[in-house]
């Protein structure tokens, strides 16, 4: 087995005294396509932010490509939700995608020919080559979402992290985005956060269920393996929420 890309070990995150993640252990291996499912407020986005180094865990450790989060810049392509962006911002699709090259440039260094080349290739892969010069305000939700995927790809990452990529798109576009991800998984490790339980099972290699709110962290509070496998017809990885006493013995749960 290759080195794991992401290792979370007994990860706990508290924000303002509220437990968001509690005793979470998880490994993601190269060429995995992992979907993290869970209700709103279940800690999905928090998990991504910890992996990205935007948030520090209260306890427990995370390593990404064998290093602390935040040190693997350039190897991670992050795709945020398209809903959070100001559509009236005067920026073209190409300019937005160029931002994906940021981690590969020095401070004050301008984007060059190679950056433009990579950005255009990324737009090509996501099927948006014709939209390069369009202002983002004129794109549909699904198109903007694909531009954001193109931005992540432009940085030539090994790992793709996607936050609810199908949250704001119509059903047709959802299929397009999943088809795109099916293509991308050939060359990238993918972690996808979603609550789109309907279609996800057909595309991903593993599913983790995450619901670590304060009142749900006792043993056996999530769906068990059998029922999830039945639901998705797939091997399923369950992230269980154990009581603190049980944590020490379950350290290698996900490594098995």
């Amino acid at each position: 087995m290759s080195e794991p890309v992401i290792v979370c070990d007994r990860l706990c995150v508290e924000i303002g005294g509220a437990r968001i993640l509690h005793g979470l252990s998880l490994s993601v291996y190269e060429a995995d396509f992992l979907a993290v499912l869970g209700p709103n407020g279940g800690g999905k986005t928090t998990l991504l932010k910890v992996i990205l180094g935007l948030m520090k865990p209260t306890s427990g450790t995370v390593s990404v490509f064998g290093e602390a989060p935040g040190h693997a810049k350039g190897r991670i392509g992050y795709v945020p939700q398209s809903l959070v962006f100001d559509r009236s911002f005067p920026i073209s699709a190409l300019e937005l995608v160029l931002m994906g090259r940021l981690a590969r440039k020095r401070l004050m260094q301008r984007y060059g020919k190679e950056d433009r080349q990579k950005a255009l290739e990324a737009l090509e892969i996501t099927g948006l080559a014709a939209f390069a010069g369009r202002r983002i305000g004129t794109l549909s939700g699904g198109e903007l979402q694909r531009v954001l995927i193109a931005r992540a790809l432009a940085g030539e990452p090994d790992l793709l992290l996607l936050d609810e990529p199908t949250a704001s798109v119509d059903p047709d576009m959802k299929t397009t985005i999943y088809d795109l991800l099916d293509e991308l998984r050939k060359h990238h490790t993918i972690v996808l956060v979603t609550h789109d339980t309907g279609t996800i099972g057909r595309h991903v290699s593993r599913i983790a269920c995450l619901n670590c709110t304060l009142d749900m962290h006792e043993a056996g509070s999530t769906l068990d393996r059998a029922s999830l496998e039945q639901l998705y017809g797939h091997p399923v990885d369950v992230v269980r929420h154990r009581d603190p006493a049980g944590m020490a013995t379950s350290k290698h749960y996900d490594h098995a």
Partner: protein, 272 residues
């Protein structure tokens, strides 16, 4: 108008209008797309303390605004982003404290404070040549910084989180941008005064936004609109003998209102 150019004060006023518009168009663009108008207003009003300091020490008040404005930019920036205080509270506190310091220092200065009114509300007709040199220098500094940090400023304006993930020092860049706003305030004080700086920092860029495809285009159009507002306001104030700063702002506001209504009609028609 050409015969007016025989007067040195008129030539200076025109130059001040054009030079200040460059800063306004460029920095105003960031203020508008990042929606940090209130911070900019806070920096401007805090800088009034600098005017008081200038009077008290017998220096050029413009020179007093620079350290005060920069301190305000960094103070408000750090307080609202690092401490657990909401941004508008931090801004409000600085805003009022800066004004109070200014009032107290002016009160402590013996004698009458000449031209105080012009620093508050601007008087483009009294810009001395020495101030023009200062304005030109600050303009060059602003253009240089924006040219150097072009892609970084775009990144933190559009998607600060992504900029941070990409390894940018977003807090430092953010403070740097706030400092550039403070320098723009210094430039604008002569033209429209502390109280009305915020209008020229936002209106020209806001009017330019709908017709621009990129941040650079918005900066260019913003500069053109700002020049247009300043010169037409200057001309109207001359013809009708009105306060120049207030007339410039009124022209800008009317154009803003007009284009907003026009855009509103445009969108409501197309949605039918």
């Amino acid at each position: 108008m050409p015969d007016l150019l025989h007067f040195e004060f008129m030539r200076n006023a025109l130059l001040a209008a054009i030079l200040s518009s460059v800063a306004c168009g460029i920095i105003g663009t960031y203020v508008v797309v990042r929606k940090i108008g209130f911070i900019s207003g806070g920096i401007a009003h805090t800088a009034f303390g600098g005017i008081g300091l200038g009077y008290y020490l017998g220096l050029n008040p413009l020179a007093g605004i620079i350290p005060f404005g920069l301190a305000a930019a960094i103070g408000i920036g750090l307080l609202s982003r690092k401490a657990k205080i909401s941004e508008d509270t931090a801004i409000g506190a600085f805003w009022a404290a800066g004004m109070s310091i200014g009032v107290i220092l002016i009160g402590l200065t013996p004698g009458y404070a000449p031209n105080l009114f012009s620093y508050l509300f601007g008087n483009i007709l009294t810009v001395p040549s020495s101030d023009l040199t200062l304005i030109l220098g600050l303009d060059c500094l602003i253009v240089l910084m924006v040219w150097l940090f072009d892609k970084e400023f775009l990144a933190i304006s559009f998607d600060e989180e992504y900029a941070r993930i990409s390894g940018l020092k977003t807090l430092a860049l953010d403070l740097c941008m706030l400092c550039l706003i403070a320098l723009t305030v210094v430039i604008m004080v002569r033209v429209v005064g502390i109280v009305m700086v915020i209008a020229l920092l936002t209106i020209p860029a806001a009017v330019a936004r709908s017709s621009s495809r990129s941040l650079h285009g918005m900066m260019l159009f913003g500069t053109l609109f700002s020049t247009l507002f300043s010169i037409s306001g200057l001309w109207l104030s001359w013809v009708f003998d009105l306060a120049s700063g207030a007339t410039i702002i009124l022209v800008a506001s009317l154009v803003f209102l007009f284009t907003t209504l026009l855009n509103y009609r445009g969108t409501s028609n197309s949605s039918c």
